[in-house]
Amino acid sequence: MSPERKTKKAPAKKPAAKKPAARSSPVRPSPRVVLDAKIPPGPIAEKWDNYKADMKLVNPNNKRGFKVIVVGSGLAGASAAATLAELGYDVHVFTFHDSPRRAHSIAAQGGINAAKNYRGDGDSVQRLFYDTIKGGDFRSREGNVYRLAQVSVNIIDQMVAQGVPFAREYGGLLDTRSCGGSQLQRTFYARGQTGQQLLLGAYQQLARQIGLGNVKLWNRSELVDVVTIDGRCAGIVTRDLVTGAVQSHAAHATVLATGGYGNVFFLSTNAMACNITAAWRAHRKGAYFANPCYTQIHPTCIPQADETQSKLTLMSESLRNDGRIWVPSREGDDRSPSQIPEAERDYYLERMYPSFGNLAPRDISSRAAKRAVDSGRGVGPLKNGVYLDFAAAIGRLGRDVITERYGNLFEMYERITGEVPYEVPMRVYPASHYTMGGLWVDYELTTTIPGLYAAGEVNFADQGANRLGASALMQGLADGYFVLPYTIGNYLAPMLNKPIPGVDHPEFQLAEQAASTRFGNYLDIRGSRSPDWFHRELGKIIWEHCGMDRTAAGLRQALSDLPALYEEFKTDLRVTGDGASVNQTLEKAGRVDDFFELGMLMCRDALERRESCGGHFRSEYQDSEGEAQRDDANFAHVAAWEFTGDPMKAVRHKEELKFETIHLAKRSYK
Amino acid sequence: MPILPRTVALWLMRLGLIAAVGVHIHAAYGLTILNHNARSVKYQSPRDYQVANFASRTMRWTGVIVVLFLFWHLADLTWGWWNGTGNDGVFVRGDVYGNVVRSFERVPVATLYIVANIALGFHLFHGTWSLFQSMGWNNPRFNKWRRYLAVGIATIVVVGNVSFPIAVLAGIVGE
C-alpha cells in the first residue's frame, strides 16, 4: 500500500519540485504540478514586504472588469470578499446558508491572538511566530507563519475600527488574556463570543458592499464542482438549495473559504452543515490535499449523552484556568463524585505535567483524557468523560467570582446536561474540533490549480500539526483581509484584456451534467439507509482508528472497512423527497459522499506519516513517557496528495519544510 | 373685561383636543393596518404569550371603547341629548354641576361611565409606559419608575373620574 513517495527529497535549494507519479487511472490529465511554495527572498522579517514591493498591480479602473468568486462567508470568505469589493473587483459570494452571517466562525468562543504587546509582557511578532511554529509541532512553513504574526496587529486595528466590542480595561483600552500554549497575554476577546463578534464585523463590512452593489450574494447555494480549463480554474458549478437548479459561474479567480472537515468524525464541535465538498471537488480537479491526518481534538467538550446525539458542544478552554481535571483512581468506581475522597482521585494532568498542569496544550490533554477513560476510569452514565471540577476554585474564590468568569458557560452546560456545575463537577471529553490539514497552498494562497485560492481553515498553511487556541480566527482574517487582496491582484494583472472562457464552454456544460447526474443518482439508488446513518458509521470508523491515538494496524483496518462501507453507500443509500425543492437529505448525501473519500485519504496520510506530531499521534512513535516522538529526519515535510480517480490510489508528494530561522526542538510542556 | 371674548379660550383648547383626537385615530388606524399586513397569515396554533399583558394586547379595544364613550360623554353632558330626565327634567346648558349630578343619578349611566373609565385606565397605563419607550426616554436610573408612573397616572385618572358617579350615587354630591 504505497504507490507514493517515489521522489526522494531534493537537497535544499529547489524546494521539492516533483513529478507526479505515473498514473494508471484515466482521470483528466492534470498538468505537471510543482510544489513550489514561492516564498519570497530575503530575511524572514522582510519577505512579505519584499513580496508586496514586487507584486503586480491592477489599475483601479480595470478592477471592475475582473470577476472574483468567493465561496464561503466565514471570517476568511467575508473579509476577502468585502476587501476585494472595496478595491473594486466584481465579487460574487456564495454561501449555503440563508445569510452570510451564519458561517461557523461564529461559534468560536475564546479569542484572537495578536502580537500587540499591549501588556508589555515581552510579546513581539517574533514571539508569536515562534509560539505558532512550536505549537504546530514544527510542521508549518516559516514564511507563511511569520507573515501571519506580522499582520495579526493589523487585524485588531481593523476589527476595532469596524465596531467589534472587544473586552476593555477600566481605562477604556483593550483587555487581553492568556490562552493555552503561550506564556503571554496576547488574546483579545469579546466575552465568550469572540468568533461571533469578529464574524459579524466582517459580515457587516460585506453587507455594506452588497448594499452598494459591489458584491452579488448567492445564498442557499452550494458549490458542487470546480471547473478547470487549460490548467486554470475557470469557475464553479453550484446547486441552488431551494430550487435544485444547477448553474455555472465563470470567473477570473476563485477563492474557497469553506472551512475544515472536522465533521468527517460525525460527532464534532462543527456545525451540522460544515463539510469538505468544496475542497474535495477542487481536489478531484487537481488541487493537492495536504496533511489530511492533522486533525485537532479539543479536550473539553460535553461528552456524548446518547445514541441520537448529533453534535458535541465545546466548553471553552478558559475553564481549565480554574477547573481541575480528575478521574477516580480505581477502575469502575461508581460512587458519585462527592463521595470519592480526595485520596482516591487522580488529578492526572497535574500529576503528569506539573508545570502546565490543567493548562497543558490541547493534544496532550486530549490524549490523557482518552487514556483515563480507556483505563476504565471514565465518569458519567456512559463512563465516557472526565471530571472538570470547580469545587476548589469556588472554595478559594467564592461562587460570585466563578459566576463572573464562567457564568455563561455554566448556564450553557446546565441547559445541555441538566446538571449544575456549581454543585457537581462538569463532565468533559475530547471531540473533533478543527482540522489543520487542507488544500495545499503556496505563499500566495494559490492551490495547485492556478486561479484557485484557499483561505482560512480550508487551507493547510499556517497551523502545522496542531493549532494553538485563538489562532484560527487570526488566520482566517489574516488570509481574507491582508493576504488575498494582494496576491489575487498579482495573478489578475497579467490577465487584463484577455478573455476567459464563459459558462457556455463545454467544460462547464460537462460539469453541470455530471453534478445533475450525481444528485439524480442519490435519489435513484432507493436503498435502505439514510445519509445520516452512513455518516454516523463513517464517523465511528474514523474516530476509532484515525482519532486521538492511531496505529498502523488500526489504520489498515479502517482502510479496509471504509471502501466496503462506501460501496454500501453507493448501493444502499436512501434519499426521499425530490431534487427540485429544499431537500436536506439530498444535500447531506452529497456531503457524506465526499466525506467518504476524504476519510480514506486521511487514513492513508496517517498511515504514511510514521511519526507522531501535534494532533497526529501514532502509538508506535512515542517516547518512554508516552509523549509524541517526531521524526524530523524523515518527516519534516508537507504531504500533499494528488487525486488520481480513487482516494485509495492517491499519490503522495512532498514539500520539504525548510527551517532557516527556527531551531527544531522537542515540544515539551512538562 | 376679559382678555379674550367669551368661549374663545375654550374653543382654542377644544380645537387642539379635536386635532389630537384626529391624529390619534389616524395613527391608531395606520398602525393597525401596518401590523395586520406584517402578519398576513396568522399563526395556526394558539400563541402562548409570556409578558404581553392585558393592557398592551387590548389597546385597540380599549381605544375603541374610549372613542365611543367620548361621543356618548359629549352627547350626554355637552349637547344634552339624553340628559333631560333629571329631577326637574331639564338640561341646562352651562349648568355643569347640575347636569353631571342629574346624569349620574341614573345607575346605568354611572355604570357605563365607570366601565369606560376603567378601559381608559388600561389604555393610559400602556400608553404612558409606551411613551417612554417610543420617545426613547430611557435611563437605567429611572427605568424602574416608568412602570410605577404609568400605574400612577392611570390610577389617578381612573380614581378621579370614577369618584364622580360614585359620589353622586352615594349621595355625597347632590343638588
Binding site: 452571517r101 475600527a161 469596524q162 448594499g211 456545525a271 449523552a305 453534535k311 458542544t313 426521499t576 | 404569550y49
Partner: protein, 257 residues
C-alpha cells in the same frame, strides 16, 4: 437519563411557498430526555426516511445557540418554553411523556415560508445592508488603542451585539415588528465611539428599511421574552431616541450625505 414515551408531534408541513400547508401528526414512541429538540426531529426524520417518506425540512446549523439558523414556534412560543434558549439548546427534559407538541414555522409577511418549517429571513440582511456597519475600509484603520472605549459602553454595546439574528423577536411580536433586531444592531454601533460618524444616517436608514418589511412596535415586550440572548427592549428606546434625534437635528451638519 430517562426516556419520554408516546409523544405526539403536530408539525406544519408545507411543500412550497404556494402550498396552503397543514398540520400533520407524528408519533414518537420513545426518546431520551438527553436529546435536544432538534435531535428529536432528527430521530423523527430518520423514521420518516425509513418509511420512504420525505423528511421534515427545518433550518439549523451550529446547534450551540450562536449561529441563529434554527427557529420554530413550539407550543406557541418562539424557540419553545425555556427562556433565553434557542431551539437547538432546548432539551427534551423540558417536556414530559404523553405530551402533544405543536411545531409551526415563524409567521410574518416578511418571512415567507420556503418549505415546511423553513422561512426566508432575508429582510434582516437588507436592514444591515442599509446601515448596520461602520465604514472602515481594510487597511485604513487607526491603531486600536487610539480611542479608549469606557468599559460600561463596551459592555452595553456587547449586550446589543449578542443578537444572533434568528428572528424570534419578529415571530414573537403580536405586530410582526423587527424593532428588537434592528435596535440591537443600531445600538451596538451607535454606542461605540467608532460608530459616531454614521450615527444619524445609520439609524435613519436602518429604521426606514425595517419599516418597508415589518410591523411596528407597540411595546408588548414579547420580543425580549422570546430572545434566546435575552436582549433588552431598552435598546428599542435607544433606537427610537436616535431616530428622533436624526430626524430633528440638523443632519446636514452632522453627516453630510
Amino acid at each position: 437519563m430517562k426516556n419520554l414515551e408516546n409523544l405526539v408531534l403536530r408539525i406544519w408541513r408545507q411543500s412550497g411557498p404556494d402550498d396552503p400547508g397543514r398540520f400533520q401528526s407524528y408519533r414518537i414512541d420513545s426518546i431520551s430526555d438527553e436529546a435536544s429538540f432538534l435531535e428529536m426531529l432528527d430521530v423523527l426524520n430518520e423514521k420518516l426516511i425509513g418509511e420512504g417518506l420525505e423528511a421534515i425540512a427545518f433550518d439549523h446549523d451550529c446547534r450551540e445557540g450562536i449561529c441563529g439558523t434554527c427557529s420554530l414556534m413550539i407550543d406557541g412560543q418562539p424557540h419553545g418554553p425555556q427562556r433565553g434558549t434557542a431551539t437547538c439548546q432546548l432539551h427534551m427534559r423540558k417536556f414530559s411523556s404523553g405530551e402533544t407538541i405543536t411545531v409551526e414555522p415563524w409567521r410574518a409577511t416578511a418571512f415567507p415560508i420556503i418549505k415546511d418549517l423553513i422561512v426566508d429571513r432575508a429582510p434582516f440582511d437588507r436592514i444591515v445592508e442599509a446601515g448596520g456597519f461602520i465604514t472602515a475600509t481594510t487597511g485604513g484603520a487607526p491603531e486600536a488603542n487610539l480611542t479608549p472605549v469606557p468599559k460600561p459602553v463596551a459592555e452595553a454595546a456587547m449586550d446589543a451585539a449578542a443578537c444572533i439574528g434568528c428572528g424570534a423577536c419578529v415571530a414573537a411580536c403580536p405586530n410582526g415588528a423587527a424593532s428588537l433586531f434592528t435596535a440591537a444592531k443600531v445600538s451596538h454601533l451607535n454606542l461605540l465611539p467608532q460608530g459616531q460618524a454614521e450615527r444619524w444616517s445609520r439609524v435613519e436608514a436602518m429604521v426606514e428599511t425595517m419599516e418597508q418589511y415589518f410591523g411596528s412596535c407597540t411595546n408588548h415586550g414579547e420580543c425580549e421574552a422570546a430572545c434566546p440572548k435575552s436582549i433588552s427592549i431598552d435598546f428599542i428606546a435607544l433606537m427610537n431616541k436616535d431616530y428622533l434625534s436624526a430626524k430633528l437635528k440638523n443632519r446636514a451638519l452632522i453627516s453630510r450625505t
